[in-house]
Structure formats: structure tokens, C-alpha cells
């Protein structure tokens, strides 16, 4: 079924392009491929049966774009495939495949795309267009390609309006039997149902207004459709009943950029028949720049996270504080380090993280990531499942 919609979108895109290409124009083609080797090591024995300690993996990310009409028209493709010891991580996806046309103050995109909304670092509340590819990374920044028609309208005085038509919903990825960072019961996507009778074919819509004035960047958005987060209901026998509810979600994101300070706020209000809640993340980032006269930047980050769902919040960030530091060397190799910790304000649970990356030569990069789950309270509904899942990850990529 998923492939059917991909083919449909390719056909639509092709029709558009075909109609436009009567006059021969200069087309610029561009191909790039990233090959990645990854190794994840979990140094504690798995809590659940079947879980492993060592996860070697390889991934490929091919990209292709064709641009014409001075770049105002293009076709863009980004693919992804991974082979991993965890069968749920062994998969392929079309991250992006869309046709785009821009003219004066508007832009139209048709196909699978990735769209990012928001300003915060520790949690991405407002960002709702794409489904999270949760098995790919712990930070939730990897997304599945979302079929859409997006129309952007840039006004002179009133900012930019983005309109989204989202004809198909994609389910979140979850770790399999052999995988880490999962619940006691493995979530089988076939068991996840929809509140909507139209299921994944429910026709969803979203709108976003983005405005900038001086130091202020403001985004206001509304989404109506199948939620991206499944709702979990724990049955008395210890099983999980889960489904995707139909939601209305209003989101606000604000950033104030003043000298070396970035003040950030993201907040959502989500409304569904089964659930109603408010969540927010607010904080700041301050950067000491060029400390050594050689380009060393050290940024300090602090954010407060709140979620009215309390312990039912899937992110487990219901009343927590995030603190971190971003260190950028601004050297030829783009060396950078991000250190962070998320601490629950009422309980002892803390997650520490380190992410570092550097380029070698002109076409190799290396990345190290570590996440440590420390003093996780057994009473934590979500996090207690991950208490033995501290890990170290190494990634080496070669770009062609």
C-alpha cells in the first residue's frame, strides 16, 4: 500500500513536469551517495528476552536532484536503506521525492517531503508533519518521508503562510524482538489501529504562519488529522493497546535572538476524544564566541520541559530540565561536540548524552554518540524499560 502511493505521487509529479518541459531548458543534474557503517554497543545485558549487546549495521543514503528554470523548478530525491541486527531497523524508505515549482512569492511542492518546525533543542513538540523514524535515532530527529502537497505563500507584510494537504499517514517505527530501547512487549505495527475509519488514508490538513520582525521569529501552526504519536493504553494483564487518535493540535514557537542570547519557546495544545493536554519547552542558549581567537565557540543551553500527560508522555519529558553545552571548534574539519543531560525534577532519573563529529579529508566523517540512562526510577512508566539500554554508537560515513 505504501508503495502504491509512492507510485501515484511519482506519476503526478511526472505529469506536471511533462507539461512544463516543452521548451528545452538547461537541466542541472546532481547525484550524491553516502555510505555509512555503524556500530552500537549496549554495555548492560538487555532487560528483555532476545535483546543483544552488539549491533553492527550499514546504511546507504542516495540523493538525486534535477533543477531547471534557473532553479525555480526541480525534482528532488533522497533515499535511505539500513541493514541491522534488529530486524525492525532493517528497512528502506523514500525520505524525499518531490516536484517543486517556485514563482515570485509562492512555492508549490508535490510528493514525499521532510518539513521541520520549531526552535528548541531537547524536544521537538511543534514539529508534526513527518512521522518519527524512532528506531533510527534516540533524539527523534530522523523522520519518514511524508506524502504531501505544500503551498507556501510569502506576503510582503504579513509573513509566510504554508498550507499542507497530507493524504496518507505513516506509522511510527519501533524496535523489534532483538532490538534495544523498547518496551517489554514488542510493538507490532499491524496491531496499531486508527481511531479514524479511513485509517491511514484519512485526508489530513495543516497550516503554519511564520513571521519575523527584528529580533523575533514566530511560528503559529495548526494540524488536524491522524496523530503522529500513538496513544498507549495499558491493559490490566500487562499488555498494551495502542492506536493513532484523530487530533487537533495548535503549536506556537518563538525565538528571540538578542546578541549572544537565543530565547526559545515551543508549546502545543493537543485535543482528541481520548486525550487533551498542553506541553511546552522553554529555555535559552548563550554562546561565548571565538574564545581563544581561533574560532572556539562554547554555547550553554538550558531548557525546561513540561507535559500535562505526566507519566504517559511518550517522550518521558513531563517535568524535566535539560542542560547542555555545544562546543564548536570552527576548524577545517568542522569538529563539534554536544554534551547534555536531562534530569527529572521530581525523580532521580537522568539521561546524559554526548555527540561529537568531525570530518576527515574531504569525503569522510566520523560521529560518536553516547547515551547513559542513570538512576532511572522503576516507577517511570516509559523510561524504566530503557534503564539497561545505555549505549555507545560509532558512525563512519563516506560520501561519493
Amino acid at each position: 500500500m505504501r508503495n502504491a502511493i509512492l507510485v501515484l505521487f511519482m506519476l503526478v509529479a511526472h505529469t506536471f513536469v511533462g507539461a512544463q518541459s516543452e521548451v528545452p531548458q538547461k537541466v542541472i543534474h546532481d547525484v550524491e551517495v553516502e555510505l555509512e557503517g555503524e556500530y552500537r554497543y549496549f554495555y548492560n545485558k538487555g532487560q528483555f528476552q532476545g535483546q543483544q549487546d552488539h549491533y553492527p549495521s550499514i546504511a546507504i543514503r542516495p540523493e538525486y536532484s534535477a533543477e531547471w528554470n534557473k532553479g525555480y523548478e526541480s525534482i528532488n530525491f533522497k533515499g535511505f536503506a539500513r541493514i541491522d541486527r534488529d530486524e525492525a531497523r532493517t528497512r528502506w524508505d523514500i525520505r524525499e521525492l518531490y516536484y517543486q515549482k517556485a514563482k515570485n512569492n509562492w512555492e508549490l511542492s508535490i510528493g514525499l517531503r521532510k518539513v521541520y518546525w520549531g526552535v528548541a533543542e531537547s524536544n521537538h513538540l511543534v514539529d508534526i508533519i513527518n512521522q518519527t523514524d524512532a528506531v533510527e535515532s534516540f533524539d527523534g530527529e530522523d523522520k519518514l518521508g511524508q506524502p504531501m502537497v505544500q503551498f507556501s505563500w510569502i506576503t510582503d507584510d504579513w509573513g509566510t503562510f504554508d498550507f499542507f494537504y497530507l493524504p496518507y499517514h505513516r506509522k511510527r517505527t519501533f524496535a523489534g524482538d532483538e532490538g534495544r530501547l523498547r518496551f517489554g512487549t514488542v510493538i507490532d505495527n499491524d496491531d496499531l489501529n486508527y481511531e479514524s475509519g479511513a485509517e491511514q488514508w484519512r485526508q489530513d490538513v495543516a497550516i503554519r504562519w511564520k513571521y519575523f520582525l527584528g529580533a523575533f521569529d514566530i511560528g503559529l501552526s495548526h494540524f488536524y488529522g491522524n496523530g503522529r504519536e500513538p496513544l498507549f493504553v495499558f491493559t490490566p494483564t500487562g499488555g498494551i493497546n495502542a492506536f493513532y487518535p484523530v487530533i487537533n493540535q495548535t503549536g506556537l514557537d518563538v525565538q528571540i535572538t538578542h546578541n549572544a542570547f537565543l530565547w526559545k519557546l515551543e508549546s502545543i495544545y493537543r485535543n482528541a476524544d481520548a486525550q487533551d493536554f498542553l506541553a511546552m519547552v522553554a529555555g535559552l542558549e548563550f554562546t561565548f564566541s571565538n574564545i581563544d581567537g581561533n574560532g572556539l565557540d562554547i554555547g550553554l543551553l538550558g531548557e525546561y520541559l513540561y507535559d500535562e500527560r505526566d507519566e504517559l508522555a511518550l517522550t518521558a519529558l513531563q517535568n524535566d530540565v535539560f542542560f547542555g553545552s555545544r562546543i564548536a571548534f570552527n576548524d577545517i574539519q568542522d569538529t563539534s561536540i554536544l554534551l547534555g543531560g536531562i534530569k527529572d525534577l521530581k525523580q532521580s532519573s537522568t539521561i546524559f548524552s554526548v555527540e561529537a563529529s568531525r570530518r576527515f579529508g574531504s569525503s569522510w566523517t566520523a560521529e560518536i554518540e553516547a547515551r547513559v540512562f542513570s538512576d532511572i526510577e522503576t516507577s517511570e512508566l516509559i523510561l524504566s524499560n530503557f534503564q539497561d539500554d545505555s549505549f555507545l554508537r560509532l558512525r563512519i560515513s563516506r560520501f561519493f
Binding site: E32, E34, S65, K70, G71, S74, N76, Q100, A102, N104, N105, E107, K114, V115, Y116, V119, E141, S152, I154, T160, K210, F212, G214, D217, Q255, T257, N259, A260, F261, L262, T287, S289, N290, G293, N294, G295, D297, N330, D331, I332, Q333, D334, R359, S362, S363, T365, S397, F399, F400
Partner: protein, 257 residues
């Protein structure tokens, strides 16, 4: 038009030479240089950046720069990275202001995120090069105070002191060529301790549309670290007719994809 302006300026120079302070003459030269470059509208150019360390090892980057000229406020610019491949599609959008700090956004293609970033870091290096952010931003007259130093043939040397205390320099010594539309031939940068830090030399000047001088090579040498960065410009296009719509956050994302 150009001859008229230059004749006017020359007449002004002669009549004022005696009653003029060094500060007034310095400002006058900076204004003449700005005036000479007025009216280019918009341009696109491709750029190769070569970074050399003190042992002579090199590393390269390829970029594209789009610029929109604004007269009532500073220019707008869009820079896109084409290489190294791991940062391909990373792009910045900058709205320069004659007064106050610039507005700047960064597009990160891997997560499709547009981020407003602080323009506070003027003195830091641009992508590991010997160019600081402030060396590459739009040169508005209001950003310096001026002092005329010397005249050597057709060259006029003017000292420029940055108004912004966050600048990495106490002063810059700028050599203008008054016979060639006040184009800049050389800049010497003095650090906060007033020691010579860098020298930037411009070469391979070409005249576009009969009015706009553009150097095809910028060579920045850091005398303290012995590192060097060379910028080579190619395919200048002054006929692109870009508008404000090409310098929006929507356009920033489009440029990075």
C-alpha cells in the same frame, strides 16, 4: 554616469583638500567607493575557497553566493555550500543592517531545519578559514569611522576603525584605487592588541557592465598563524534580476535542497 560622479568627486576633493580634516577625507573616500558601486541590483557568483595551513596542506570548499542590493538598508545575501559533500546544501541567509546587528538564518539540510542564529560572532572564522564573518559581510559606510592616511599615486590609504566593539580589529588599513572606481586593492587588519594580523590582497579585477569592479581572487594571509585562504570567484552574473522573494526563508530552504 560614472565619469560624472568621479568628476564631481574630483572637483569636491580639490576644493576641499585644504580645509578638510583627515577624518573628513577618509569618510569622503569611503562614500565615493560606495557611490561607485551603486546600482548593481543583484548578482550571483560561484566561489572556490582554498584553505592552506602553515605546512602548505590545502582543503577546498565550493560555494554559491547571491546578493541583492538595497540602498535604504544593508544588502541581503544567500550563501550555499556545494562541498565538502557532508555539508552540501547548508546555506545561510543574511540581512545586513547599516546600524545594529545583522539578521541571519542557517539551513541544515540533513534535518530540513531553518535556524535563526546570532550574528554576534563577528570575529570568529568563517568555516575554518582566515576570513572572519565580519570580513565577508556587506561593507556599509556606517560600520566604521575613517581617517585618511596617505596618497600614493592613484592609491588612497584610509584607516577604518570598526564602530562595533565586538569586532576583532582595532583598525584596518584600506587601499583604494581612485582611478579605478575606488576599488579596494588591499586591506591590512590589526588585531585588538594593534598588531598586524592579516593582509587581504585583491587581484584579477574585471569591470562588469562598464561600472562594477570585481576581483576574481581574494588572498588572505594570516601573519600570526602563517595560514592562508584564497577565494576564487567565477561566473559573475549581474543580469539575474533577483528580488526580495529570492531572499526569503522559503528561498533559503529551496537553495539548500
Amino acid at each position: 554616469m560614472k565619469t560624472k560622479i568621479i568628476t564631481g568627486i574630483l572637483a569636491l576633493t580639490i576644493s576641499l583638500t585644504f580645509g578638510q580634516t583627515a577624518e573628513e577625507r577618509g569618510l569622503q573616500i569611503a562614500k565615493a567607493a560606495e557611490e561607485a558601486d551603486l546600482g548593481f541590483g543583484s548578482s550571483t557568483v560561484e566561489l572556490k575557497m582554498t584553505l592552506k595551513n602553515k605546512n602548505g596542506q590545502t582543503s577546498e570548499r565550493f560555494l554559491e553566493t547571491n546578493t541583492l542590493e538595497l540602498t535604504e538598508d544593508g544588502d541581503k545575501s544567500l550563501i550555499v555550500f556545494n562541498s565538502p559533500k557532508d555539508v552540501k546544501g547548508t546555506a545561510t541567509l543574511t540581512f545586513t543592517h547599516k546600524e545594529g546587528s545583522d539578521d541571519q538564518w542557517l539551513y541544515l539540510p540533513s534535518i530540513a531545519r531553518v535556524k535563526r542564529i546570532s550574528s554576534n560572532n563577528k570575529s570568529g572564522p568563517f568555516v575554518g578559514s582566515e576570513f572572519a564573518y565580519e570580513d565577508l559581510s556587506s561593507q556599509e559606510v556606517e560600520k566604521y569611522t575613517y581617517k585618511f592616511i596617505a596618497e600614493e599615486g592613484s592609491n588612497l590609504i584610509v584607516e577604518q576603525d570598526p564602530v562595533d566593539p565586538k569586532s576583532g580589529y582595532t583598525r584596518r588599513l584600506v587601499t583604494y584605487n581612485k582611478d579605478k572606481g575606488y576599488r579596494i586593492e588591499k586591506i591590512e587588519f590589526y588585531d585588538r592588541k594593534n598588531a598586524l594580523l592579516k593582509t587581504l590582497t585583491y587581484s584579477g579585477y574585471q569591470l562588469y557592465k562598464g561600472k562594477f569592479w570585481r576581483a576574481d581572487t581574494f588572498n588572505m594571509v594570516n601573519h600570526q598563524s602563517n595560514k592562508e585562504t584564497i577565494l576564487e570567484f567565477s561566473n559573475y552574473d549581474f543580469d539575474v534580476s533577483l528580488t526580495d522573494d529570492d531572499f526569503s526563508q522559503v528561498a533559503l530552504k529551496r537553495a539548500g535542497n
